[in-house]
């Protein structure tokens, strides 16, 4: 179309590249600061998980509070494959992703028949049931969990003991790849139809599409991303147990990060993780052993604030009047807020009647 409409993405793209450059260089400053390095890794990890959750919860509008299940399944798959069969962790990551995807689709078969609150409850119940099973199942280590045998560090073994910086880069890569993939997905035919399903499933059916098929696709992508994140987590802490990877708090946090950031947007889950992970980590430091409960208190408070003032999440702030005015001045409004499927239709050329 016109030249000016092409200029906006250039601004946005250079901003992104700048951010990426900063993130790539960041380990130069925090490599010898374990606390900050760990926090950065956790931000990336939770951002990846939030992105994954968002495919189903945001794009397709099917809110799950059982996504910890897929995270846990991914983690367990890789660890069990490594411990029982000596499988390389990278292959374990593929397997964990695939198994989580498959389980997601299977869970979807009964659950997608349910709407609204009932779907939410069903996802919770399924995840809790699996959690309970894993706490008593001997073969998977029951409640004690399983430790990954320590191997010599290096990229092939996906283990780094002295310097944790490689984990940083792996997590960052995962975040970039997932975000880029979802950027594409949102613009695709599938992303478009998921949006329609989120708006009105019955209307989508009446036009000849099977909502179940598209919701299953969203679930497969969503659960697969969580599975991959689970494998990363297992390799990072070299340990799995039901409480740390299948616990309800994982499911709740993932959903919260995406919801607080802004569902259905690409930046939302990243924003959510970037704000909430530090909140959680610092509160843990300041309130020592009991910190875990304090961060949940803060989360609860934030949920109330967001629910009352910004039901569309922090990304919704972009839609407030003063911010809109500012974006208009910068010429960024269409880049950040316009739906991806509408290129600029100049007023007038669509007039025909």
């Amino acid at each position: 179309m016109t030249g000016t409409s092409r200029a906006y993405p250039v601004v946005a793209l250079s901003g992104l590249l700048l951010l990426l450059g900063v993130l790539l260089a960041l380990p130069l400053y925090i490599a010898d600061r374990p606390f900050e390095l760990r926090m950065a890794i956790l931000i990336f990890l939770f951002a990846v998980m939030g992105q994954g959750w968002n495919v189903l919860g945001g794009f397709a509008g099917q809110v799950s509070i059982g996504h910890g299940l897929y995270f846990g399944l991914g983690a367990y798959t890789a660890v069990l494959l490594a411990v029982k069969f000596g499988v390389n962790p990278w292959l374990g990551m593929l397997a964990g992703t695939a198994l989580a995807s498959l389980c997601g689709v299977l869970v979807g078969i009964p659950c997608f028949r349910l709407r609204g609150h009932y779907f939410v409850i069903a996802t919770l119940v399924v995840a809790e049931s699996v959690f309970q099973v894993f706490t008593v199942w001997e073969w998977v280590g029951s409640a004690v969990g399983i430790e990954l045998p320590v191997k010599s560090e290096g990229w092939i073994n996906f283990q780094f003991h002295r310097d944790k910086t490689p984990y940083y880069y792996i997590a960052l890569t995962m975040l970039v790849v997932v975000t880029a993939g979802l950027w594409w997905l949102r613009r695709s035919r599938i992303g478009f139809l998921l949006r329609a399903i989120r708006d009105d499933e019955e209307a989508v059916r009446s036009l000849g599409f099977s909502p179940h098929l598209y919701k299953s696709l969203a679930m497969a992508i969503s659960a697969g991303i969580l599975g991959a994140a689970g494998v990363f987590h297992a390799q990072y802490v070299l340990f799995v147990d039901p409480f740390s990877v299948l616990g309800l708090h994982i499911s709740v946090m993932v959903a919260l990060f995406a919801i607080l950031g802004g569902t259905g947007t690409l930046a939302g889950p990243i924003l959510g993780a970037a704000i909430l992970v530090p909140l959680s980590e610092y509160s843990r430091v300041h309130f020592s052993g009991s910190g875990r409960n304090v961060d949940l208190l803060i989360y609860g408070f934030l949920i109330m604030v967001i629910a009352v003032y910004r039901p569309d999440g922090l990304m919704g702030l972009l839609r407030s009047r003063p911010v809109l005015t500012m974006l208009d001045r910068l010429g960024l409004r269409s880049v950040l807020l316009q739906s991806p499927h509408i290129k600029n239709i100049r007023k007038g050329n669509s007039h025909a009647a």
């Binding site: 329609a196 708006d199 209307a203 036009l207 000849g208 599409f209 099977s210 509408i342 007039h351 009647a353």
Partner: protein, 243 residues
């Protein structure tokens, strides 16, 4: 010539209520058939049965020579039988254009082509100027036309319209009658539930009147609306003139 749609003795009960009782009719390609009747006559249930949203207890629905009873509604839509909703249901977070694009995508085209089809259909229903506006802002009359455009974008052969004139203001009635006639001229067969009898008179080739789940009269709009049974169904047993 065999009819495009043949409804054969379909019945549906909800608990003890007979919503539709042994209704049969044929619809030829290129015809406009109206279904009238007071509220609760079973018209919308009948539509639901034809479109695959409601499974009949008995009877058969044959579309283009093929029985479609038991097919899910999305499969029926894929065959070219598309129904609009009585209360229009636009995709609220989408623009007018995007709404219609969803319909176009069912033709297995890419987004760019879907967009072109959608613009064309918005133009057909006179909403081209609204293309970029959020559908949530649409007036009732615009919603009705938007839904028609969305259904048209799927390239249907038979369109089931549930009260297309409901909530449409008087001046727009003419435009809508004219639009539906143009659709018929372009080869689309129409089955229309409508309360607006004036619009029915001007639009349809044939009318079926329903009352308490049964088809009680069939014929031209003139004969059916003058049928004493139909008048009684609408007015009850009293002789009071309508408002």
């Amino acid at each position: 010539m065999s009819p495009l749609l043949a409804v054969r003795g379909v019945s549906k009960s909800f608990g003890g209520l007979h919503a539709v009782r042994a209704v049969s009719f044929d619809l030829s390609a290129g015809e406009i058939l109206g279904i009238i009747g007071p509220n609760g006559a079973g018209k919308s249930t009948l539509f639901g049965i034809i479109a695959g949203q409601v499974r009949p207890d008995r009877g058969d629905v044959v579309f283009d020579g093929r029985s479609i009873v038991g097919l899910p509604c999305e499969a029926v839509a894929r065959l070219g039988l598309v129904k609009t909703f009585q209360t229009s249901r636009p995709f609220g977070t989408m623009t007018f254009l995007e709404n219609v694009m969803v319909g176009a995508l069912s033709r297995n085209v890419g987004l760019a082509e879907a967009r072109a089809i959608a613009l064309q259909q918005l133009d057909t229903v006179g909403l081209a100027a609204q293309a970029e506006r959020p559908a949530a802002w649409a007036s009732t009359g615009q919603r009705k036309r938007l839904e028609i455009a969305r259904a048209l974008a799927t390239k249907p052969r038979l369109l089931l319209l549930d009260e297309p004139f409901g909530g449409v203001d008087l001046p727009s009635v003419d435009a809508l009658v004219e639009l539906l006639q143009r659709l018929r001229d372009s080869g689309i067969t129409l089955l229309v539930i409508e309360h607006n009898l004036e619009a029915v008179h001007r639009l349809v080739d044939r009318v079926i009147a329903m009352h308490l789940g049964e088809a009680i009269a069939e014929g031209t709009a003139e004969t059916v609306t003058n049928d004493p049974r139909v008048i009684q169904a609408y007015l009850g047993s009293t002789e009071v003139a309508h408002a």
